[in-house]
């Protein structure tokens, strides 16, 4: 069985200003692949959360590091992977925040990975050589 695959590769660095690049790339593929506005926003959100985590926590020096974002549409599946050469870290092992707490007790932060897990259908992590690869998948409704 042949699959219909479309791929977009976005080269990023560990600078938060590259969030604009991510938003721009998503606008492009939303048009090319006819993605609904809500889905595009969800994809932007999960990529931002994953990317921001990498930028803020993966590197112990001040150097510029390349981060590769690959967005694929395979039939009715969207597969997003983010690859960095930072310290080994599996964000899928993070414990979920307690979302039933009041504002007073609720901790600031810890929501990013939780949102990714909730909004995507599948999230997996792999350490390949010196690279962290986080893969996030979502089915597109017909």
């Amino acid at each position: 069985m042949s699959h219909q695959t479309e791929t977009k590769v976005v080269s990023l660095t560990n600078r938060l200003n590259d969030l604009d690049k991510i938003a721009g790339a998503l606008e492009d593929i939303a048009e090319l692949w006819s993605l609904p506005v809500d889905l595009t926003m969800t994809l932007n959100l999960v990529i931002e959360e994953a990317f921001t985590n990498v930028v803020n926590y993966a590197f112990q020096d001040e150097s510029v590091h390349d981060i590769e974002l690959v967005i694929q549409k395979i039939d009715n599946r969207l597969v997003i992977s983010l690859k960095d050469d930072g310290v080994a870290y599996d964000p899928t092992l993070n414990s979920d925040p307690d979302i039933s707490m009041s504002a007073r007790d609720r901790e600031i932060g810890g929501l990013g990975i939780f949102l990714i897990k909730k909004m995507m259908d599948k999230v997996s992590y792999e350490r390949r050589g010196e690279a962290n690869i986080l893969t996030m998948e979502k089915l597109i409704a017909d």
Binding site: L16, N17, D38, T42, A103, R104, L115
Partner: protein, 110 residues
């Protein structure tokens, strides 16, 4: 891009949050809110009619302001969330933390 316009109604300062609240723009938003609170404002409405995007960094600022209002005996109300933003509030438990309203008017009267 994020823009915050301010107005007042019925004793509340209304912050009209317009555009994208991401990791970069949230820093600026946090600064503007800190300034407002340092000026003694304790009754705030966030009008999110034109808020098209929010990430966890933006939610973090909402929570920070809520905590500060609680500590000061003030009030923070949030109105007019778009459905996709409301979904993020629901998933993260923020719909229970904040007083949500459908209009600036109802937020200022309850």
């Amino acid at each position: 891009m994020l823009q915050v316009d301010f107005s007042s109604t019925a004793g509340y300062t209304v912050a009209h949050v317009i555009g994208r609240l991401d990791t970069v723009t949230a820093t600026d938003f946090e600064g503007q809110m800190s300034k407002l609170i340092s000026e003694g404002v304790t009754r705030i409405i966030f009008d999110c009619t034109k808020l098209g995007y929010v990430s966890s960094s933006g939610l973090r600022v909402f929570l920070l302001v809520q905590k500060q209002m609680s500590a000061l005996g003030g009030k923070l109300k949030v109105c007019c969330l778009q459905p996709s933003i409301r979904e993020i509030f629901d998933i993260s438990g923020f719909s229970q933390i904040f007083s949500l309203f459908d209009s600036v008017e109802s937020a200022s009267q309850h």
